[in-house]
Each structure stands twice: as C-alpha cells, then as structure tokens.
Symmetry: C4
Subunit: 473 residues, 4 copies
Amino acid sequence: MSISCTRNFFERFCVEEYNIDTIKHSSFLSADLLPSLGARINQSTKLRKHIISPFNPKYRAWEMWLVFLVIYSAWICPFEFAFITYKKDALFIIDNIINGFFAIDIVLTFFVAYLDSHSYLLVDNPKKITIRYLSTWFAFDVCSTAPFQPLSLLFNYNGSELGFRILSMLRLWRLRRVSSLFARLEKDIRFNYFWIRCTKLISVTLFAVHCAGCFNYLIADRYPNPRKTWIGAVYPDFKETSLWNRYVTALYWSITTLTTTGYGDLHPENPREMLFDIFFMMFNLGLTAYLIGNMTNLVVHWTSRTRSFRDTVRAASEFASRNQLPHDIQDQMLSHICLKFKTEGLKQQETLNNLPKAIRSSIANYLFFPIVQNIYLFQGVSRDFLFQLVSDIDAEYFPPKEDIILQNEAPTDLYILVSGSVNFIAHVDGQDQIQGKAVVGDMFGEIGVLCYRPQPFTVKTTELSQILRISRT
Amino acid sequence: MSISCTRNFFERFCVEEYNIDTIKHSSFLSADLLPSLGARINQSTKLRKHIISPFNPKYRAWEMWLVFLVIYSAWICPFEFAFITYKKDALFIIDNIINGFFAIDIVLTFFVAYLDSHSYLLVDNPKKITIRYLSTWFAFDVCSTAPFQPLSLLFNYNGSELGFRILSMLRLWRLRRVSSLFARLEKDIRFNYFWIRCTKLISVTLFAVHCAGCFNYLIADRYPNPRKTWIGAVYPDFKETSLWNRYVTALYWSITTLTTTGYGDLHPENPREMLFDIFFMMFNLGLTAYLIGNMTNLVVHWTSRTRSFRDTVRAASEFASRNQLPHDIQDQMLSHICLKFKTEGLKQQETLNNLPKAIRSSIANYLFFPIVQNIYLFQGVSRDFLFQLVSDIDAEYFPPKEDIILQNEAPTDLYILVSGSVNFIAHVDGQDQIQGKAVVGDMFGEIGVLCYRPQPFTVKTTELSQILRISRT
Amino acid sequence: MSISCTRNFFERFCVEEYNIDTIKHSSFLSADLLPSLGARINQSTKLRKHIISPFNPKYRAWEMWLVFLVIYSAWICPFEFAFITYKKDALFIIDNIINGFFAIDIVLTFFVAYLDSHSYLLVDNPKKITIRYLSTWFAFDVCSTAPFQPLSLLFNYNGSELGFRILSMLRLWRLRRVSSLFARLEKDIRFNYFWIRCTKLISVTLFAVHCAGCFNYLIADRYPNPRKTWIGAVYPDFKETSLWNRYVTALYWSITTLTTTGYGDLHPENPREMLFDIFFMMFNLGLTAYLIGNMTNLVVHWTSRTRSFRDTVRAASEFASRNQLPHDIQDQMLSHICLKFKTEGLKQQETLNNLPKAIRSSIANYLFFPIVQNIYLFQGVSRDFLFQLVSDIDAEYFPPKEDIILQNEAPTDLYILVSGSVNFIAHVDGQDQIQGKAVVGDMFGEIGVLCYRPQPFTVKTTELSQILRISRT
Amino acid sequence: MSISCTRNFFERFCVEEYNIDTIKHSSFLSADLLPSLGARINQSTKLRKHIISPFNPKYRAWEMWLVFLVIYSAWICPFEFAFITYKKDALFIIDNIINGFFAIDIVLTFFVAYLDSHSYLLVDNPKKITIRYLSTWFAFDVCSTAPFQPLSLLFNYNGSELGFRILSMLRLWRLRRVSSLFARLEKDIRFNYFWIRCTKLISVTLFAVHCAGCFNYLIADRYPNPRKTWIGAVYPDFKETSLWNRYVTALYWSITTLTTTGYGDLHPENPREMLFDIFFMMFNLGLTAYLIGNMTNLVVHWTSRTRSFRDTVRAASEFASRNQLPHDIQDQMLSHICLKFKTEGLKQQETLNNLPKAIRSSIANYLFFPIVQNIYLFQGVSRDFLFQLVSDIDAEYFPPKEDIILQNEAPTDLYILVSGSVNFIAHVDGQDQIQGKAVVGDMFGEIGVLCYRPQPFTVKTTELSQILRISRT
C-alpha cells in the first residue's frame, strides 16, 4: 500500500506542476483530470461511498469517450451552423444523444473527487465538490449542453434561425477538454513529444480551416445578391449544387487562404466578405508564425544530439590531427567518445548529481554492493564500511583495446571489472608482454594504490567492459 | 523614508538600464518617462516648487492619456491623408482639440524634472530642464503639433492640398511615445512578456496595413485615368461608393499583400502603383521574417521549462530501466525530480548564489534563525556563533516516503525538520522496524555527526517535508 | 590486426548509435549498411565462405549503384504513372533491367553478414541471415521488385490500367535506401553537415514537387470533362500538346502551389482537384515550416562561432574602455583572445577533459615527454616520475609581445618554451632592461618556484610561442 | 614601434581567423584584403620599394572605390543584358571607363604584398606575389575585365548578340569583392552586427530581384510570339512602351514572385518562362527560409539580454514572495541585480577569467595598486607583497542602502572603499546606532579579519559605492 500511496502522491504533484504551467500560458485550460508523466496508476486510497476518484480507470475511459464526442461536436457544430438549412432527422437525433452524454457528465462531476491544489489531497466531501464545480465551470457546461433547438420547437420557433445557430456554437466550449488533454500528453514522457506537438498543431490548423470555410460559406449564403459573393461569382447557381461540392469548395477556399497560396479564383466580392477575410488573414499570419516557431523548436531539439556528437568528434579529430597523434591514441579517443554517446543520454549524469544523497546511496548500494562484497580485498571488511565505500564508486564503460591504466602512471584509482575482460601488459625490454588477464569480478590497480607505487602494468580492455572505479580513500 | 529612497534609486537604475538597451537597438526611442520593473513607486523626494516629478502618479495618468491620443492620431492621420477630400467639421475640431492637448504637454515638459543619466539624480533646475528639452525633442514636438490646416485657412489656401496633407503626417512623430511605452513594458515583470511582445507585433502589423492601404488608395485617387488603377479596374465608379466600402477595400488589398496571400483580384495597374507595391512587398518580407523570428523566440522560451522537465525525467527513467532499479528507488527518484521542478524555478538557485554575501546572510538569518534558536542542541550556544552557523544552512523539500538518511551511511550532515514529519526506521533481523518519529522542530542525524558513527537509523519522510541541512563543521 | 579490429568495433558502435537515433525519429529507416563517422575501413575479420561483409568496398560500390538506380526509379515511377499512356519499348526494357538489378540485390542480401545490435558482432551464419531478412524487409523488397506489367502482358491484360499503375508505385519503397544514406551521411564528419542537410531538403522538395505535379496531371487526364480541369481550362486541347509541355506545366503548377506563390492562372476546377489540392497544401504548410526550421537551425549553428568571438571581444573591449586600461594591456587582451579562438575550437578543451585518464596520459606522454626529458632540471629524475609529471602539463599559445610572467609576481608555475622565443626583462631604476633570452627547449620561472621567491624578471614573448606550464607540485 | 608591431600581428591573426571561417562556409570568398576587428591600423613594417602594403590607407580607399564600382556593375550588367538592344554611347563609354579601373587593379595587384597564411608575415617578394596571383584569381579577373564589346566592334560583329551579352555577364565575378567586404564587416565589432547582417540580406534580395526581373524580361523579349509572353499577354505592345515602364514591370513581377505574393496578373505563358519560373521559385524558397532563419537568429540574440534580466528578477522576486522576506531585503536583492546587469556585460567576467595570469595581474596592478598603496594598514608592507596581494582583489559595485557586512557575521573579507561612502551601524539595545562613517580610501572589516572576531558593526552603503574585496589570506 505504501508504494501505491507514493505513486498517488507523485501523481498529484505532476498535476499540480502541470496546473502551474498551464495557468501561466492560458487561463482557459483546466487540468483537474488525470495525472501526467506516465505514472503507473494504482489508486487504492479509499474514498467515500458514491464518490469516484478522478484516477479511476473507468472514469478515464468515460473521459476519453467524451473527448471523442467533443471532436465530433467540434466538426459538426460549424458545419450545421453554415450548411444545414433545415434540421434533418438523423443529425437532430445524434446531436441530442451527444448532448445527453454531456448532461450525464455534468451530473457525474458532482460525484468526482478532486485534487486540492494546496494540500495535494483528494477531496471527497460532496459539499466541497459541489461548491467548487458550481463556482467554476458549471455555468459554461450547462450552456454548452442545453438543447436550444428542441426547446425552440416547443415554443414553435423556426429552428433554423440565426440566433439559435449562434447559441448552438456554445457547444464549442467543450473543446477545453481537448486542449487539456493535449497539455497533459505533452508532459507525459510515454508519448513522443514531437508527435503530440504535431498532432496538436495539425488539429488546430484543421479546425481553423473548417471553421473559416463554414463561416465564409454562411456569409455568402446570407448575402442578398448571390452573384456578388465569393462562391457565386464563379458558380452562379451554387445553392443548387450538392452539399459535398459546396463543402469542398469552402474548405478549398479556406486552406488556399490559410497557406497564403491565394490562387484568386475564389475571392471576396463584397465588403462583408472582405472584412471576414481581413480577420482571417490576420489570424493566419499569427498561426503560420506559430507553426514555424514550433517546427523550428522541434528541429533544433531533434538535431541537438547529432550536433553535439558531431562537434565532439570534430573537436577530438582536429586536436588529434593538429598534434599528429599516433593512430592508436586517435582510435581510442574516437571509440571512447562514440561509446559515451551511446551509453549515456545527454543529461543523465547531471540529473543523477542533482538527486539527494540518500537516493544516490540507495542506487549505488543496489547496483554495486553485491559485486564489491565478493572482492577478496574486502572479505574481512565490515558491512558498514563497505556501505560507505560503495557510495563513492563510479561505473564506466570502456570500448575494447582501450588502455585503462598506463604502466608507470601515478596510482589514483582502484578498478573492479564488472563485465568484459582486460589484459595486463608489461613493457619489458622494448616489447609488450601480456602478463595476465582479469576476468569478471576481479580487481586491478590495487598494487599501485595500496603500496603507493607506480602502476606495474598497462591494463587494456579486450572487449567491451564495464568497470567500477574506486578513488583512493 | 530610507526605504522609499532606496526604491527611488532602484527606479532610476532601471530607467538607465533601459536606456542603454534601447539606444543600442534604435536611436529613435527615448525612455525618460517611467521606471520599469514594477517597482512600487513611492516618490517622496522633495522637488522645487512648480516642478513635477516624472514619477508623479498624476503625471503618469496624463502620459497614459496622451498615449491614448497618440493611438487615435496614428489611425486618423493616414486616414484623413487619403480619404477625406474636404475637411468635415467634426474631424477638424477633434484634430485641433488633440493638438491642443499636445501643445499643453509641450508647455508642461518645461516643468518636469528629469533623471540625469550619469548621477542618477532628478534634476529640478528649470534652466537645465529647458536647455535639455530645447536641444532634444522640442523642435520635433512643435512641428508635430503645429495646426497647419487652420493656419492655411487663415491665408486662404485650400486645406486639402497635398502639401498640407504631408505636413499633417508629421503628427506620426508622436508614435515615439508608444514605442517607448512598449520598450518599458517589456522590462516590467508585472506584465507577461509574451502578451506585451504580441501586442507590440500586432500593433506594428495593423499600423503597416492601415498606412499601406491609405497610401495606396491615395495613389489610385490621384491617378489621371481612374480605370487604370488597382481599385478602378474592378470598381470603375469607385469614387462614388461609400467611404466605408473604399476603406475596407483598401485594407483588404493591404492585408492580402502583407500576408502574401495575393488573390490578385486587386493588383497594381500602372507603374506608379507597381513602384509603391515593390516597396511595400520588400517591407513585408522583412516584417514577416521579423514576426516569425519573434514567434520562434517566444515558442522556444515557452517550451523550455517543459522540455527541461521532460529531458530530466527521461534521463532518470532511462537510467533506472537500464540498471533495473527496484520500483521503490525509481519512485523516489521521479517524485524528487517532480518536486524540485515544482518548488524551484529554473534560475532561482543560480540567482541567489550571485548575490553578495551580506544579502545572503540576511536572508538566511531571517528565515532560519528562529528555528535554529529553539533546537535543544544549540541552547547554550552564543548568538554570534548561531548567526554564523545559520549562513551555511541549506533548505530542501522532500516528497513523502523518501529516504533522507540511510542506515549505516557515513554521517556528513545534520538535519532539522521544519515542516512535515519523518520516521526513524532500523533494519533489525531482516525487518524494518519503526523506532521513532520526529516532529516539526526536531533535529536528527546528530548522533552520527557528533559521535562520528555511521547513522543508526534510516530516516524516511511520511509526508511532504521541508528540511534544513547543516553540514558538519 | 588489432588496430583494424578496433576500428571494426568502432564502426559497429557508430552503426548502432545511428540506429538508435533513427528509430526514435522515424521507424521507416534502416541503417544496416555502412558505418558512419568516416572511419578508415579496413575490415579484415574472416567471414565464412560465400558470405560478404557489409563493409566490403565492392559491396558498397554495388550499394551506391543501387542508390543511383533508386533515384532514377523515384523520378520515373510517378512520371510513368501519370504521363505514359502506352508502354514505350525503351522505357519498358529499362524498367525491367532495373528490376533485374534489384532482384539480384534481394538474392545477394541472403549472403551478406549483418551486425547484431546487442553483441556488436558480424553474424555470418547463413540461417540467421535468412531468418532476419525474411522477417523484416523481404516481403516489401519482393513487392517493390515484382514486374507487374510484364506479368499482366502474360495474362493479356492491358498494361495501362490504373490497378497496375498503382502496383508499380510500390517501387517507391526503394526510397528507404536513399533516406538511410542521408541519415548515415549526416553522422559522417567527413562531409559538411550543412550541405548534406541542404541536399536532403532539396531532394525531398523536388520529389514532392514532381509527385504532386504528376498526380495532379493524372487527375486532370482522367476527368470526364477535360475543359473542367485545372489544365484544360487554360489549354483546352492539352492532351494533344507535347509530353514536355505537359510535364513542365504540371511541374510549374506544383511548385507555384508549394512555394505558396499561387499565381492562379492554373487552379483546381472541380471538387476532385480541390480535394487533392487541399491535401497538397496541408502538406506544403508542414514542409515549408520544416524547411524554415532547418534553415534557422543551420544559420544559428553557423553564426554561433562568429557570435561568440564578437561577444568575447566586445566584453573585453568594454571592460578595457570602462576602466581606461593602457593600450599596452588592451592589445595583449585582444590578441590573446584572437589567438585562443584561432587555435582552439569551441568544444576542444571540454572534449579532452571528458576522456578517461589513461587516454589523457597517453596523449600528454606522446606530446610532451621528449621535450621534458631534455630539460636540464629533470636530467637526473627517474622516468616514472617524469611520466607522472607530464600528465599535469598544460600547453598554451602566446601571441608576441605578451607578458607571461610579471616581475614580483607570486611564483606558481614553471614554464618550458616549445617554440618561439622570450625575453627576460627586469625593471631596474625605472627602466626596462633586457636581461636575457630563452630559446626553444629552455625553461623559465624555475627560480621563483624552486626558491619560493617573487619572480625576478618579467618574461615577454617576442614572437608567437608555444609554452608548457607545469604547476608547482 | 613595438606596439604598432603587436597591432600588426594582431591584424594578421584576425585576417587568418577570418579566412578559416570563410573557407568553411563557401569557397568563393577570399579575404586577403583588410584585417577585421577594428584594430587601429598603424602599419609601419618596412616593405620593399614599389610594393604596397594591403593595410595602406590609400590602397584601402582604392578598394572601397572598386567596391562602389562593383555595385554599379552588378546593377548595370543584367540591365544592359536584358533591356538595352543597341549600345547607347554614354553607357558604352562608362562601361569601358569602369573596365579601365579594374584593369588598373589587376596591374596593381602584382605590387601588393600579401599575408602568408602559415607564417603570418607580409610577403613582399615580387616573384611570390606574381606566382600567387597568377595561380589564383588572375584568369577570372582578366575574363571579367576584358572589353568584349569593343573587341567585337573591331571584328565587325553586332554588339547586341547574345553571345557577347553572356560574356559581359562575366563581370558579375567582381561581386566576390562585395561578399568579402561583408564577411570582414561581420567580424568587425565597430559595426553593429544586426545592421551589417540586414544590409547583406537586403543586398542579396535586391540583387536577386533585379537579376530575375531582367532575365525574365529577356526571355519575353526573345520569344517568337510576343503575345504569348508574361508581359505581352497583359501589355500586347510592350516593346513600344518606355524603358522605365518595362523595367518597373519586370521588377514588379520579380518581387511579386519572390515574396510569394503571386497576384497572378503577370504569369508565365509559355514553357520557357515556366521553366525559368520553376528555378526562380525554388531559389526563392531557399532565400526566404534563409532570411527567416537569419532574422530569428538576430531576434533571439537581441532579446537574450532582456530575457536573462527578466528571468533573474523573476526568480529573485518569486523566492522573496514565497518566503515572505521583509521588504528591506527584497529591495536590496532587486537593486543589486539591477546594478549587476547594468555594470557588467553578459560575458565579461567569463572573458576575464579566461585570460592568462600575467594579463590578469597587469590589469589588477594597473587598477588597484595606487589605491592599496595608500591604505594605512599596508604602509610598511613591501612592494612585492602588495603586488601579489593586488592580484587577488575583486572589485564590486554596491547600490545605496545595501548591507556589505552584517553585525556578528563571520569575518572572511576585508573591504576598501573606492568611491561612495558607507556607514557603520551597531545594533545596541535593540536600536540601530550610526557609529561612524568611512570615506573614499578607507578600509573596513579589518577588525574582524585581523582579530578573528565576528564583525562588530553592520556596514551599509549610503550611495552608489565601488568596493574592493580582499579575501583573508
């Protein structure tokens, strides 16, 4: 239970962290739904009866279902607004079913616990939940769910009136769920940042294209003189063509303008359309700049690792060629750099150094204690001393044929071989002689360290080896 | 009084800092108005009689009012220049009232003290103020305020002549007030950098669109053959259409060109218009590049915190999974990283380290002295020693269930619990036994430090705790 | 043999490193061909009979030849698809010859060893090679090579049918070879990163333009009413014009849309074309943002060195002018900075510091041992001690007329002159007197260090000198 | 003479540094002209008779004059190529005069010393100069200067033939002088990097527009059917209109395409024009991306200082408000940060730390020795000791009302007041009493340091003060 509790706590932090960040950028988004960061959810905290945890897998599935409905709403809303002149039965029914789901969600929200942002505790007091919801999104949610069209039928109004259409646009308020989903996914390292970001940008672009197309069509549709409209100038009898053709034309106009291609075959013909176009183009300017800015950001981040690798290798080879180092040393340098880039991420070492001492000790203890325990030199040593020794150990990978110790070098460290194998080579009478071999679990360099003499051998790896280094204490 | 004086001083620096920066970028802007950085203004320095401080709240309100008038001028100037063929009475009167306000400001400036950029002192000597103003902006201000049109009426000229129109464009000189306002707001951390920057870019874009539209219309209006103009080719009788229609058409052309959409329904028809268009498009190329450059800059800055968080968490989890660390340690690592990102800004630690020692001591003293004073270990210790001890204290947050001290670890630090609670756990006979609890104000780790023995207990937080660490001295 | 083995190993790492990176970005690319990083390939590992090493120069030439064929295929595929209504004999034969080459490659692949990504060993077991190939790309390769058109002739089908055309588009699968080539070249420091990147971006752009042009033509060609197509509206009898004219027109339309110029002389006329255009413009938006992002990335990297140089020089000169330093010191500062930027890359020092101790010792030993050995002070000293001393030596360049030691300075280092020459200058009775000269191989500063007295002379370089510094041990 | 020699040397480095950099980026540019970096040129090295130094002010003036002529050539070359059908006398003469100047320069180059890139010495051996020039740019220079048109007149050819026109385009080779000028200016810190970069980008853009316009006109002019050309379709009798109108129309088309506005009123009408347009648009795509990339780079650099300031202030104020620090400390923190940003550039401290020890000592000695000499505490101390002491001194600015020493603080440093004034305040019986004052040249903090006691007073600045800090040695 204690582990699940920790996780739970961890989740709360992430949510909070996320909240802080979002609020800074835009006050629209709310993030009281799911924790981010890919924490393994295992919520076992007991809540009151009839109160649902926001981390409940079933509740999450329900939320994903709502997000799916929201996407449908976002598409159908402007479309109905512009193209559908009389309510078709099927659409009418589907709309109301969807409204029904959202109505259920409003009711449900009164039974969902929430995370208090100060105490990091799940609040399951029904009164507090109610007060919080009523004072925040309740009004908006109700407005975006209210079935204005059926209501209008009751009062014998004509459902296709502009007023009701505009009211039905309130359903777009539901989009906040999608934006909060994206904000959460961006923090979640289980997902690729690049694709999340791209999907978000593409969604925004598509939605902008769709909305602008629909709205522009509506303006043309309502204009008194159909021949003086952007679509009527080219297709004089556009109101008779199929819905599909009109929709594609509207989208085509919209995307031609958004990408600033501007063929000009369809263009505003009257001041009303010009005004709309002015605002749309201003918006496009911002959107394009935002897309490019994001793409640049992603490209820079993408290539930074390859860049850094290239720069390091270039620096090493420039140094080597300027100083005419022998090929032997040059190869060792390059293969060491390659190995380092492969085995270590860019920020790994830095991240570990910033952890508190106790965690670092736990890690070292877990990783190195069993190995060090079996070293003959440490047989009689007390557990406590070993425990302290282990905290100071560094692990490193060495590519094959790399020197670890040079003969006659000042002894500063003691090495333990964890994997791979090394040769002891002594330079005697101008020739390199292999004096011995160390296998996994062996220790070397201890003669120098203990007797305080220069290293008697050169130690060279023969294959990829992992080696622990204990500095002389 | 001393505090207000410090603040006053602080303001002056900011103004100066701001000046330096602006001058580098463009020599147009002047920044002798308000201090930046959101300093709480509390100007109490006595000035001579009849001399107003530039930090006087009333004078600032006056300046904001002038900025408002400037924005109106910036809009009406090109508009009158291009569209208004005969002076309408209302506009004529409004223009002259506004001119009146700016005339008052010119007179007022002779009574406003200024900040000397070398001594950082408010100069209230009327002679010096006069000399400084006369030698800098006075001539420009007078030219941009002089009522050329009323004067022309006196001499029986026709007010719609091109010469006078161009003279009235001098009023755009007033825009320097707006640009200096933006430069100041960018430095002011009370405002969101992103929105300031966006507003500035949008303002510049709108002003460019407005000016280009007006000027392009003027060229068409003046061209001998109205059918060979950009607007006349499409609307042959454009001079008879309403002012609103003509203005919207001009704006529409302007923004179509600026966003490079270029539908082509309105396009230059004669060399004069082509020439204007060439210059406008060159300008647009630069403006678009500038907009995108700024947006990229903002996006990169925006996402840098999320990025850094993601990279750190990814590095930690990669390390954990590669070394197959137990879940317990993994959770501690991740929750510690989350907490760190939440409690500390990116540059906070670095900023504090760069402060001089006396300030750092003051802060430590203010924050930790009352706590340390009550520790039983320090009961008999002299105030002076405690004072010095306090300077070396570090405060850190620990998430719940995190180990602070591991059993058998080498003792290096001594901890004081400020908030939260911790358990002492001893690993006896293969089982973890809770040996005790520490509450707020308790100290732990002291046995190890004082007796120089390995820590006898593991110390684990049970809730979010703030802990002070004193290194062994 | 051992060196070649190391290199071989090194190659493997690079391949692996490269794999990791590619997989992250897109799972399409495979990189089992050549090692990157410009390693001097000298593969001498013995493989089984009839098994070819992937690093075999002949095999690489074969691969380059295939890449060349792929480029041709990538161009001809969409072109045939759209423009060629009946199979011309020449093209038919060329296509099948190319297919033949790729068929040979499929067979060959069964005899090429591969690098195991876990053990970093070349696997030459024919069974394993077969299993691996069958389970990965085999199916795709066969599909992209199968001669559908000749097969169709066998069964008396008409080769120009749309179905077979689409099948022949499978040949584009071969493009993965090109993308894997680019991914490898980007890692290879023998090539300029900028040009590789540019070539890649231009290739992608050209291919997009070509494909879109061909596909758009096909839509027009197939549309029932040729006058209601993008090309037919302008050239009503376009089907009779020459192939060249039609291809240029298609390309022209394509690039006009891609660059968002959008003249509008050719534009979609029917919903089918509009739909295609919508997708193409969405793609263009992404591609343009990607191009700009890459260019920004390259420009930033390009200018970073000049930037850094400018900033450093500016910081130095600002400091000098603010403190009114004499010209003498100012010149020394600036020339030292210039020299440093010339002799050292940006990351060189950092790179060297990250190498393991043994490699650093090898380098120092190789570079400095012969020089130090000849110094009179170290004549009687043991080889071992010298060996350890050499590891601590720093080498630095000094521009002429720069002070290395100031008279009366605290002695901390001992210097050895490697190239150039220096003067000893003593300030006696208010005058600078040249007391001596040191030539290559001389040591100076030793009086101060050994006797622990302030330096008796100022030491000034007379020409560009390289100097070793040994800190007092 | 020695100073001028150093400078001379310094210049050479800069030239070399610049060479390295340029060669990497593009092999077109040569940089053997002037040194960069704004070195005060004072070339006094004696050269052989009749040999001119490249740093000779007169030679530089000559080069600037040639650059001016090159700009004219760059404009007139494509213009003549496209628009001038028969040689007008004035142009013909001017062209040949300009050719004459360049012919003189070719002769002159044989007498100009050059910098050897290995030895950094001016080579004034006429043979070496001749060999170097003949083997590098000589052939190109002769080709770009040869008066093909006058020659053609000799042989009775018609000067307007296409062949000779293309030959006259060789004159564009001269542009390498302009690009090398820009490369040099970018390194020169006397000029604003932003404006140099902008001018370069604008020049390239204008040249591209001009060339494309001229070339496109030539294609139309040569096309057999004038009505099927981009200009003929709109102005059927375009060959009769004035040169000015045709040139403006060509430029207008060119810039409409470059900015991707693409009105479409002028667009390619035949395959030849389409082909040209395809290449121009591909080029535009690259150029636009390059412009935006550069602008982003500049914007990021521009705003980095304001950014860094904002981030630091924000970090400080967040810390203060979270810990509810008293206003007193908060003000001290903020004003210290402001002052630091004002007095120090971003990289100043870092730059100084990278200088060698001797230069740092010289600077410290120059700045602080006179002050320290007059301190009463150091009256009897030897010059040598003071000299060493001075090297360890740090100077810092303190804003007014800032604490430098706190009462009871551990004494670690000793302070000397250079400018401003400070108060000694003792906290006695719960009240702050001013115990004394220090004026310029006084020392404080010495009681604590010498007697090793806690500081007896708080020391607070009363105005902006510069203070030297000597750490306890």
